[in-house]
């Protein structure tokens, strides 16, 4: 098998699959290397499915707005897979004055970028979503936000990229990138396999740090273990994406009827990694308690599964996206900080454009890898 391509993509999550898809559409051949045994095995399959603009830092807003405008609305049709995309708004819920302050600040910033997001009171919240408890006193409301199914979207991109000719290899854990005459051109795997390309794109979540490190690039990031849970199917209740000012939980009701919620226990970032898919024993109960405060109606809903996933968090809470100019031929999108799914299609689309043409529709300057400086 020929191990040479125009672009070697490291990471088979939504970013890797979608980048390969958009590259192939532009006529560039991609080989995607996925370290685990499964395509879409990292954060792409373990997130709450949010496709939202509200609550994001202004630096990443243009990119996510680009995706929501140009990609998400027709994605199911394009991929021939039901991505279950819903654009029915995002409610970010608050229960007290402190929450209201946080939400108001986020809303004001987003409005500055031209996003339709506004603060509403408890009564208006319950007009939008009558299932919410009286504890909810305020919310930010962004009607153009939504959610989608991370599993089918990620695998849908994979299916289509593969059909277009992208080559995918799983169980191919990348050890290092090697320079060829000053360009990122060779990728060496733990298996001993070597892949060569004119360009290398690193889209490997937290592992990106170690991989980029092999060519002397460091993106400051940490990782934390976040958890999700899913209920059995319930009668249809609502289509909005939900979050809270305190991030106790976030989630939505899926097309299938089940509720998918993500959340935290407060020990994220300190959880032990013992190399198994074990989630933390105290987290799911904590998420359940959080949900029930907002949705007493779900108390009797049965949880059928919980899972955990590592989130790669940048030092300033904003993803790193774009070309790494000091190593020609090298690109990355990492430290997605838990925002990777909704923004993923736009990131991939722009990276493919950047690699193919050297230009992007959206200015990625604010997301540069070398934006991190000492505080004084």
């Amino acid at each position: 098998m020929n191990n040479t391509a125009d672009v070697i993509v490291i990471g088979g999550g939504i970013l890797g699959n979608a980048t390969a898809y958009y590259l192939e559409k532009r006529g560039l051949h991609a080989i995607v290397l996925e370290g685990s045994d499964h395509i879409g095995n990292g954060g792409s399959s373990r997130n709450g499915g949010g496709v939202r603009q509200s609550g994001r830092d202004v630096r990443e807003l243009p990119l996510v707005m680009y995706g929501i405008k140009n990609i998400w609305p027709t994605l199911s049709e394009e991929l021939g897979v039901d991505c279950e995309y819903h654009q029915d708004g995002n409610l970010r819920l608050g229960k007290n004055e402190k929450h209201k302050e946080i939400l108001t600040r986020l809303a004001t910033n987003a409005k500055g970028c031209g996003l339709d997001v506004r603060m509403i009171d408890g009564k208006e919240v319950r007009e939008i979503n009558p299932y919410l408890s009286d504890e909810v006193t305020c919310a930010s409301w962004c009607p153009t936000d939504g959610h989608a199914n991370p599993l089918t979207t990620t695998l849908g991109y994979y299916k289509c990229a593969r059909a277009l000719g992208a080559r995918f290899v799983t169980g191919e854990f990348v050890k290092e990138i090697r320079l060829v005459k000053g360009r990122a051109g060779k990728v060496v795997c733990a298996s001993g396999d070597v892949y060569e390309g004119d360009n290398v794109v690193v889209l490997a979540g937290y592992d990106s740090r170690a991989i980029l490190g092999t060519v002397g690039i460091d993106v400051p990031m940490t990782r934390s273990l976040l958890e999700c849970l899913v209920t059995e199917a319930q009668p249809h209740m609502f289509d909005q994406m939900l979050g809270t000012a305190e991030a106790d939980f976030y989630g939505h009701q899926t097309k299938h009827g089940s509720f998918v919620f993500g959340g935290s226990s407060g020990f994220e970032g300190y959880n032990k990694d013992n190399g198994t898919p074990i989630s933390n024993a105290i987290t799911a109960p904590c998420i359940c308690r959080g949900i029930m405060k907002y949705f007493p109606i779900l108390s009797k809903a049965k949880i059928v599964r919980t899972w955990a996933g590592w989130s790669d968090k940048s030092a300033d809470g904003v993803p790193v996206v774009g070309a790494i100019e000091e190593v020609p031929g090298l690109y990355t999108s990492c430290a997605m900080t838990g925002h990777g799914f909704g923004i993923g299609p736009a990131v991939a689309h722009q990276l493919a454009q950047l690699i193919a043409t050297g230009e992007t529709d959206v200015d990625l300057h604010e997301l540069r890898y070398d934006r991190f400086h000492a505080k004084i």
Partner: protein, 111 residues
């Protein structure tokens, strides 16, 4: 240990069969044909099949269909079922009401 698996390997084209409409995953109502087709869409592991189609994601968590799905996927790929890693097991082992999961006993009161 992960094993290198080239997803470009030729497994032949999808050929419709008479029993394609047979229900395999009863909880999520997924047919044999859907599973076979998913393999040709590139879903080569039990985990991918499960995420793509929802097989084994229902109330029984695959207790009934996991073995059946595995057999179908293996046959389609031309490998032995033993070579396919089963989908990951998840907490809770049995479905549990949110209010019960939320209520953590303070200490052992169950003598």
């Amino acid at each position: 240990m992960n094993s290198v698996n080239d997803r470009s390997r030729d497994i032949g084209a999808f050929v419709p069969r008479d029993d394609d409409d047979m229900l395999i995953c009863r909880c999520e109502e997924i047919t044999k044909g859907e599973i076979r087709r998913a393999v040709h869409d590139g879903m080569w592991t039990m985990t991918e099949i499960r995420r793509y189609l929802r097989t084994g994601m229902g109330l029984c968590q695959g207790q009934t269909c996991a073995r059946l799905v595995k057999g179908i996927v293996a046959r389609e790929l031309g490998v032995s079922p033993a070579e396919l890693e089963p989908a990951t097991s998840r907490v809770p082992m049995r479905p549990i009401e949110m209010e019960v999961f939320a209520k953590e006993a303070k200490e052992d009161g169950h003598e």
